[in-house]
Symmetry: C2
Subunit: 673 residues, 2 copies
């Protein structure tokens, strides 16, 4: 079988490996798999992204980009088999490939869905509430975010060739920013194959994605303040890259996600035999062996109550002893090979360092059977333990990036958190507890050291997604040693590729910028009731005034009797007067809402199909018997849902005869196109 | 008059200037004002902050810290006069001091208020919505934020000795993080005086604030992943500091707010004689002369339609010509001195650079009268203009940090935005326009280059707060040349000193962590109706089930007739069936709400004083005639408001006879203590 030419995709052209290309070897049998290394014009790539890709992406709304992501996810999903096949030579088992390939595709699906549900069908993202900056309201504030006008450079690690690319691409694409993807060379043939499918899909606009297989040359020296570098890998490489003078001088955003010494804590309440104990053992074992321990989130430090240390070690050793290490293509194999012989060499060296502070209780490579450990990067999982986690230093700072973990005993929960925090920042820590108080104490005592805290127990059972699995909904990243960056976390991850801008101005200009009505902006009343207008005909600011209608004491009494809501503030003048908020008997809030609807509703069938909700209702002034109410209904915002319907958010104000506002809310209707 | 000894405040002790202290001179007459420079034990300062200040702050809730901020603001507010007096020698007029001193105190007030309104009375901040991570809901996600366990180092600029300190301290304190403040030496006597008041107030916990007057020594080399550096000043200093190997290696957060080449744009619609034109001229003049142009937000580039360039120059020159430069103590003075002779030297040198690409149309220091420009750092404001903004390079990258601006003509709005973006990132740009479309085009075309966009026109009038005034509600900072950082922006600014952590676990543990009920967490029904319990007796999770009550067709018809809401889905079986969302006639949403209240309300006077609002109401399933409804009312969250009342947020679910949920919402009540 000939080797795969791992091509780059630069400025719209595929570029084959050139002179001086490197040969990449199979992790399992050492045969030549691929060649990598092209000579590229980095300036032209950046120019292509900035001048072709960026404008094409920014011409689309968030929803349009989300639709493309969904189609891309479906396209890749149908072609997974070819990727699994290529993945075996990275040392990955089928189960490992599910994490990488299916996990990557799943991430696209989640971002596609969140893009449509949580972002507007527009180009401007509205961040947070309107800020009242002036007394009369003629000058207000609002934060918005818009797409950066630069390029995202994604520098990915070797361990997840597909997921690593897609988890960065999804939020970047949704943000409207073109990306240049640089996979780690070691496993780039798999990234390359997936990338080639993406281009082959024809779904992505010209210039929106490019691929560098090989060196990034002077790429980083050419970045400016509208560009972003998103890096996954080792702390040493991250420190070297982020210190580049050009990046510092231009304040280039640098998102780092670094390997860290993640801890898992068996809660003080989790006795051997408990559901939490069993779940903990399973999880530690899985994290040691999945992807042969080459996960940035893998559990390196296993923190257990002193009294249960022996039980934990015994249970783990028993499981490890049954773990089949071998050819990842073999279904009996639980753990495949490390990514390369060099990688195994590095893990063995780090293991030796750890053994200066801890003793090995499992892990003897000479016991491996049925594998060619000379040509394939196989190794046994290794379990260590130390009696003195406080005296140790290297156990908290040296990571063997392979199937290696150390069991550390703790005295009490405070001590456990101290040990966990010695890692000086991690991507994730997990805690196996059924006690609310333990969970809260962990968050207060150690939360600031972790990007993610994973709690598992008898209640979470089989639905728990695993200590080591970053989810697109949740932030992935962590402080300190973990790099200080954040990725994903839903729409938060999209914002890393957008610029937040504080907007100050009149309500009317603000409404023009965001395409949303804000109180104080111009409204206009049309000849037709807005409930008679189809979704496409409605525009923010369109307004209906309805009413007036008097609220009588009989209305209040009748409503109380009919609904059963005989709260004293509606029924008893003396008692109501004694209430600090009421002048005497007042109308029910729900009576006000109901009368308001009675005033503005247009009864006949039409484009408004349903009232499906209501937000931010506040009662501002008590309504006394005799008050005369009127209501203003203004189109605030429209969100297309599908070809048939769209949601309309209405700003509603209810006013009394003195023009004082008595209630305000946002009404949600589903409208026909 | 003797010179002021500018002391540091380190590890709880005042440290006087020592050997090698520098003498600081008055900006207006060159006399010796103060001495600065202490020898400090930086390791001891960090230790004091981490071991004494941090724990003391974290023991308090957000609300408790906010109360201290408010008391501190009141304390300083009563002592402003002494600070004004010291401020004159920095070259500042009384108007300048109002920006600095009153602006600083005002920032404390706003953060105190936002802290109580927008943060919980707790230690854990809840960020965003619950994420559904599993099918049955036994495993869910939630982001929270907790206080960093390190120290904030604030490095401030010379131009706002008081505001610069307080705008960083307020969010840091609210976040529960101790701070070490390092003012620029040049004007540190004023910062020192204010800081001394703060310590004198006795309001701040031991170790929560420290002050370095003089060098920071090896302080930055001792920071770790839980620490933050927040820097305001020049790009060159920022690049030097943020590149420190220790900061990069430990991923220390570095927030930079750098001087930038801010632009102001006269909109294409703003003809001479219009309100926008006049407002623009006033604003540019104010920004040139306030604080003698030494503001990081000052307008450096004045972008105007080609056709109006001469009119703008003429109007600005006329105003500048009437601008009195002189002793800031003199009430006739409009513009005081620069901060020092060195500062003036620097501005003159930069002005010479700008003059290689633009011609000076105003600004002749020889015309200054009545000032001693030998000993005082006085200079005339200088206005330049260029015919070729596209050909110019230095005009877009060299900032004279004083009363210097350049008028640049543009062809059309796109061209104006191109020119603005040539600044490669700024803190703020302003636009004077009355056109919605212009505003939106500016946001889409240039928003990503600015931390803030300020729109002023006839509508904003006197309420507009000024191009150059950062407000505590809005983000201050900007991309690229402006440093890439953010400060303030309300609670966003607090988050810079907290760690966001993704939490995954069971609803019940999550409720324990956040002290908020989440669906799926344990509930408990008590013997007493929860409306009979006082605020202090209620706990999240306490639950009342009420009902059932049947909804009859008569109820629906009666409600329609009574309220006037005769929408066809309630009244006309055939028409309702044709609606894609309804099976036939259904109950009004407001009828469901009203009946739910009728079921759960306890009518007699008691601790519940008022229903003041409702959030996140969604109707989930249509209710047909004959349905039997019941309702669950669960305490979700409590927020103390004052000594008498607190807000209670209730999670309400309405269910039908099949136990399907038909509606869900959050009800807000005001409850007595």
């Amino acid at each position: 079988m000939s080797t795969i030419p791992v091509e780059s995709f630069a400025a719209g052209r595929w570029v084959a490996p050139g002179e001086g290309a490197l040969t990449l070897k199979s992790a399992t049998d050492g045969r030549d798999v691929a060649r990598i290394g092209s000579s590229l014009d980095y300036a032209a790539m950046l120019d292509h992204a900035r001048r072709v890709g960026g404008p094409a992406l920014r011409a689309m709304t968030f929803h349009e980009r989300a639709h493309i992501l969904k189609a891309l996810a479906q396209y890749l999903n149908e072609r997974r088999e070819a990727l699994y096949e290529l993945s075996y030579d990275t040392g990955a088992t089928k189960a490992d490939s599910l994490i990488d390939i299916d996990g990557g595709v799943g991430t696209l699906f989640v971002f596609a869905s969140k893009g449509r549900r949580e972002l507007p069908d527009d180009h401007v993202y509205v961040d947070g509430a309107v800020e009242q900056l002036s007394r009369s309201g003629s000058f207000i504030g609002q934060h918005v975010a818009t797409s950066l006008k630069g390029v995202a450079v994604h520098i990915n690690a070797f361990n997840f060739p597909v997921w690593g690319m897609l988890e960065k691409l999804a939020p970047t694409f949704l943000a409207g920013v073109p990306a240049i993807v640089k996979p780690a060379s070691q496993t780039a043939w798999l990234t390359h194959a997936c990338f080639r499918m993406m281009i082959g899909s024809g779904l992505l606009p010209e210039g929106s994605v490019q691929l560098i297989c090989g060196s990034t040359g002077d790429l980083l020296d050419r970045l400016g303040g509208q560009d972003v570098v998103s890096f996954t890998g080792s702390a040493a490489t991250a420190a070297m890259l982020r210190g580049k003078e050009n990046l510092l001088r231009n304040s280039v955003r640098f998102i780092a996600e670094q390997d860290s010494l993640n801890a898992s804590i068996l809660g003080p309440d989790a006795e051997p035999g408990s559901a939490e104990f069993d779940c903990f053992i399973r999880e530690v074992h899985r994290e040691m062996t999945a992807k042969a321990g080459q996960k940035c989130t893998a559990i390196r430090r296993v923190l257990v109550p002193q009294a249960h240390r022996d039980a934990v070690v015994e249970a783990l050793v028993a499981r490890l002893d049954k773990t089949v290490v071998g050819d990842p293509r073999d279904e009996a194999t639980r753990m495949g090979a490390l990514a390369s012989l060099d990688q195994r060499e590095d893990v063995r060296a780090k293991l030796a360092v750890l053994e200066s502070e801890a003793r090995r209780v499992f892990g003897d490579d000479s016991r491996l059977s049925g594998v060619d450990a000379e040509r394939g990067a196989f190794m046994s999982p290794a379990l260590l333990t130390s009696d003195d986690p406080d005296g140790a230093a290297r156990l908290h700072e040296v990571e063997a990036f392979g199937p290696v973990s150390t069991v550390l005993p703790y005295r009490d929960l405070d001590h456990a958190l101290q040990i966990a925090n010695r890692g000086e920042g991690s991507l994730v820590a997990s805690v196996f507890t059924h006690e609310r108080d333990v969970a809260r104490q962990v968050v207060l005592g150690s939360g600031a050291f972790h990007g993610r805290l994973y709690f598992a127990n008898r209640d979470t059972g089989k639905e728990a997604t695993g200590h080591g699995s970053p989810l697109p909904h949740m932030v992935h990243g962590g402080p300190g040693r973990a790099g200080g960056g954040e990725e994903m976390g839903g729409i938060r991850g999209v914002m890393h590729y957008m610029q937040r801008t504080a907007i100050q101005g009149s309500p009317d200009l603000l409404a023009g910028i965001t395409k949303r009505y804000v109180p104080g902006a111009q409204t206009r009343e049309g000849e037709r009731h807005p409930f008679r207008l189809r979704f496409g005909e409605l525009e923010s600011g369109m307004t209906l005034w309805a009413g007036p209608r008097e609220v009588t004491l009989q209305d209040i009494e009748h409503f109380a009797e009919f609904t059963g809501d005989t709260f004293y503030a509606h029924m008893d003048e003396e008692a109501a007067k004694a209430n600090p908020f009421f002048p005497g008997r007042v109308a029910h809030g729900y009576l006000i809402l109901s009368f308001a609807a009675g005033m503005f509703v247009d009864p006949d069938p039409g484009p408004v199909l349903a009232n499906y909700g209501l937000d931010n209702l506040r009662f501002m002034k008590p309504v006394e018997p005799g008050a005369e109410l009127k209501v203003r209904l203004t189109v605030k915002q429209k969100t297309r849902r599908n070809d048939d319907y769209g949601e309309v958010r209405w700003d509603v104000g209810v006013y009394d005869e003195t023009d004082a506002q008595v209630a305000g809310y946002e009404l949600l209707t589903m409208n026909a196109m």
